[in-house]
C-alpha cells in the first residue's frame, strides 16, 4: 500500500544477491549524493557496512532532521514557540529540560504523532533530508515509517510472540517479505537492539513475558525492523532500573552508526553519556516552551552560554 514508502530494507539487509524490489523510488533519500547530512560517515562506516549489504546507499548516507520556527498548540494553548533545531545525521541529539516544557510534544511533532491528539495544531517546518514532512499530500504513515519512535513505557504487542512483535512493522505497514527474509530480519533487528542472545531460544513466547528492560529493547528492535532513518526516543529509560538503563544506553550508542537518534531525557547524566549534541528546552507557566540553548553536549554541560542552562545542568532547578 505504501509504494513510495517501501523501505530500503530488503535490499539493505540481504541485498547483494536478490534483485532490487521494483517499488523503491525513494526520492527523498539519494543514495550517494548525501546532501542531507554533513556526513560524518567515516566513524560510522565500518560498522554499518559490515552487517548490511554494503552495496546499498541508505545505510551509508544517514539522514538528518531539522525544524524551522516550529510552533505548536493544544487547542488555544500554545506549548511550543518558534523552535528551530538541527539534528545532524549520525548523531545522537538529546532534548533536555524540566517537565512540561514541550520536549515530548516536540518529539511527537517530528514524526507526525502530534496530530493524532484532538485539538492539536502546529506551524513551521520539519525537514527530513531537506523535505518538509508536513508538505501537503505527504502521508503520515510514510513519514512515521521513516522516522521510528520508542515510547516511554515499553509497549510490546501482548497478543503477539517475540518473533511476531519484531516483524509487526512489516505486517502493519503492509510490506511483503519471504520467510527467510523475515527470519533474517528478526535476527538482525534483535542483534542491533542487543536482545538476541537473551531471547534467541524462545522467540515463540509472548512479548509481555520479558522484563521491563528487555521489553524496551524489544520495542527498539521492532522499530529497527522497518529500517527507519531516524529513531525518536521519548524517555526510553524512565520506567527502567539502572541496569536496564545502562543496557539500553549501550544499545543506543551502538545504533548511532546506523541511524540518527533523537532522545528526550530527564536524566542529565544520561544526556551527557549518550549524546553528541544537546538542546535545552524551557517553559515558564505563562510562556510556551522554547529552546534556550543548543549545541554540542560537551559545551552545553561544561561552559553553557546561558545562565539558565548552567543552573539546570548543575541541578539548581528543574
Amino acid at each position: 500500500m505504501t509504494e513510495t514508502a517501501q523501505p530500503p530494507y530488503p535490499a539493505a539487509e540481504f541485498g547483494d544477491g536478490t534483485t532490487d524490489p521494483p517499488t523503491i523510488p525513494l526520492p527523498p533519500v539519494p543514495a550517494d549524493g548525501a546532501p542531507g547530512g554533513p556526513s560524518d560517515g567515516p566513524s560510522g562506516g565500518p560498522s554499518d557496512g559490515s552487517s548490511h549489504g554494503p552495496s546499498h546507499g541508505p545505510s551509508n548516507g544517514l539522514s538528518g532532521l531539522e525544524t524551522r520556527d516550529l510552533t505548536a498548540w493544544f487547542g488555544q494553548r500554545k506549548v511550543l514557540e518558534r523552535v528551530s533545531l538541527q539534528m545532524r545525521a549520525g548523531e545522537i541529539t538529546a532534548l533536555i529540560g524540566p517537565s512540561g516544557c514541550g520536549k515530548s510534544t516536540y518529539l511527537r511533532i517530528l514524526n507526525r504523532m502530534h496530530e493524532m491528539v484532538r485539538g492539536a495544531a502546529l506551524a513551521g517546518e520539519v525537514l527530513l533530508d531537506g523535505e518538509d514532512v508536513y508538505a501537503t499530500g505527504r502521508r503520515p504513515a510514510e513519514v512515521r515509517r521513516r522516522i521510528g519512535m520508542v515510547f516511554q513505557r515499553p509497549n510490546p504487542f501482548p497478543a503477539m510472540s517475540l518473533y511476531d512483535n519484531v516483524i509487526s512493522g512489516l505486517k502493519l505497514a503492509g510490506i511483503k517479505a519471504s520467510r527467510d527474509e523475515r527470519d533474517h530480519l528478526v535476527e538482525s533487528s534483535l542483534r542491533q537492539a542487543g536482545l538476541w542472545d537473551e531471547v534467541s531460544n524462545r522467540l515463540g513466547t509472548p512479548g509481555g513475558a520479558l522484563s521491563g528492560g528487555q521489553q524496551q529493547r524489544l520495542c527498539i528492535a521492532r522499530s529497527l525492523a522497518v529500517s527507519p532513518e531516524i529513531l525518536l526516543m521519548d524517555e526510553p529509560c524512565s520506567a527502567l532500573d539502572p541496569t536496564s538503563t545502562r543496557r539500553i544506553e549501550e544499545t543506543i550508542a551502538e545504533l548511532r552508526h546506523r541511524l540518527t537518534i533523537v532522545i528526550v531525557t530527564h536524566n542529565m547524566q544520561q544526556a551527557q553519556r549518550v549524546s553528541q549534541s544537546c538542546a535545552f528546552f524551557l517553559a515558564s507557566h505563562d510562556t510556551p516552551g522554547r529552546i534556550v540553548e543548543a549545541g554540542p553536549t560537551e559545551r552545553l554541560f561544561t561552559s553553557p552560554a546561558d545562565p539558565r542552562t548552567a543552573d539546570y545542568v548543575n541541578g539548581r532547578f528543574g
Binding site: 515510547f151 504487542f157 503477539m160 502493519l172 550508542a253
Partner: protein
Amino acid sequence: MSTTHPGNTLDALPAPEDRPGPEDRPAPDALPEQQRIRLGGVTREEVLTLAGAAGGSLGLDWLLYERILPFSGAFGFLLCWYLLFLALYAVAGRLQWDALTVRERLATALAWSSGLLVLAVIGDQIGYVLYRGLDAARHLNFFTESMRSTAALDPITSGGCLHAVVGSLEQLGMATLFSVPLGILTAVFLVESGSTRRGARLVKPVRVLVEAMTALPSIVAGLFVLGVVILTLGVEKSGFAASLALTVMMMPIVTRAAEVVVRLVPGTLKEASYALGASQWRTVWHVVLPTARPGLTTAVVLGMARGVGETSPVLLTAGFTTRLNLDAFHDNQASLPLFIWNYVKQPYPDMVARAFAGGLTLMAVVLILFVTARVLGRHRTPSERRTRRPLRATAATAATASAANKAAQVAN
C-alpha cells in the same frame, strides 16, 4: 524450534553436580513446626446463632401458618419463614454482639441468601425441565429422528427433534455469520471514529440507535423481517429469513459487548502501531482486534446465546414443519424454540414430554456453545501456535553481526 528448545533449556540449567547436595548444606536448626493462625474462620457461636434462628423461625412460621392465621400456600410460607429468620437472627445476635456487628452479619446473611436464591431458581428450572423431559430424552430416537411420521398418540419411542436441532444450528450459524462481522465492525467504528470531529458527529446517533435496538422487542424483529423480506421482497418463509430476524436481535448485543472490549485496548499499543507506519485499519486488524480477542469471543457468545433461544422472530419467519429440511433457503424449517412452543401446547402427555426434552436439548446446545467459545477465546500463548522454523543463524550472518558489534564497540 521444537527440537532446539529442550536442548537449550537443559543447557541453561546448572548441571546437577554444581548444585550443593543436601548433605553439604548446613543442617537447619530443628525448630518445631509453627501453628498457623486461623484467619477469617467462623466461630461456634456464629454458626449456632444462625442455625438457631433458622430453626426457631421455621417453628414459629409453622405455628402461625398451620394453627393461628388463615393463610396457606408454599410461597407465602417460605417468604414468612425468611422474614422471621431475619428478625430472629437480628434479635439473637443483638443479645451477644453490638449493633454494628449485628448489622454486618445481617448484611452478610442477606447477600448469601440472595446468591443461594438465584442458584436455587436456576437449579429448579433445570431440574424441572429434566424431570419433565427425561421421559422423552432418554430414548435415543429423540435425537436421531424427526417428527415426520409421528402421530399425536404414537409412543414416545418414535419421533424426535433432529430436524429442530439442524434448523436451529443452521439458522444460528447464518445469523452469527451476519451479525458478528457487522457487530464488531460497528464497535470498531464507534471506538475508532470518535477521535475525529467528523466521525464524532456520526458516532453519537449510531450508538443511540444500537442501544435502542438492544431493547427491541423480539416480536418486532420478526415482524420487520416478515414485512420487509418476506412480504415485500418475496423471499419465502425459510431458515434464511429466520436467520435475518435473529441477526436483528443479535447484532446490537454483539456490538455493545464488543465496543466495551475494543475500547479497553490501551492507546499506547495503537500509538506503537502508528509509529511503525501503520494505517488506521491495519492497526485495528493487526493490533486492536487480536488484543481484544478474548473479550470479543465473549461478545459473540452473548449474541449467540440470545439468538438461539429466540422464539418470536422465528415464529413469524421460519414457518414450522415436522420434516427434516436441510435447505435453509427453501421451505419451512423448524428450530428448537419452535419445536418446544409447538408441542408444549398439545394435550398429549408424550408431546409435552417431547417439548421438555427439546428444552433440555436447547440448554445443552447453549452449554456447548459457551464452552467452545471459552476454549477458543483463551489467549493462546504464542508458543502453542504454529511452530516456527528454527532460525538458522548461519555461520556467515552470525560472524558478520558479531563483527559489527565489535566494530561498534571499538568505534566508541
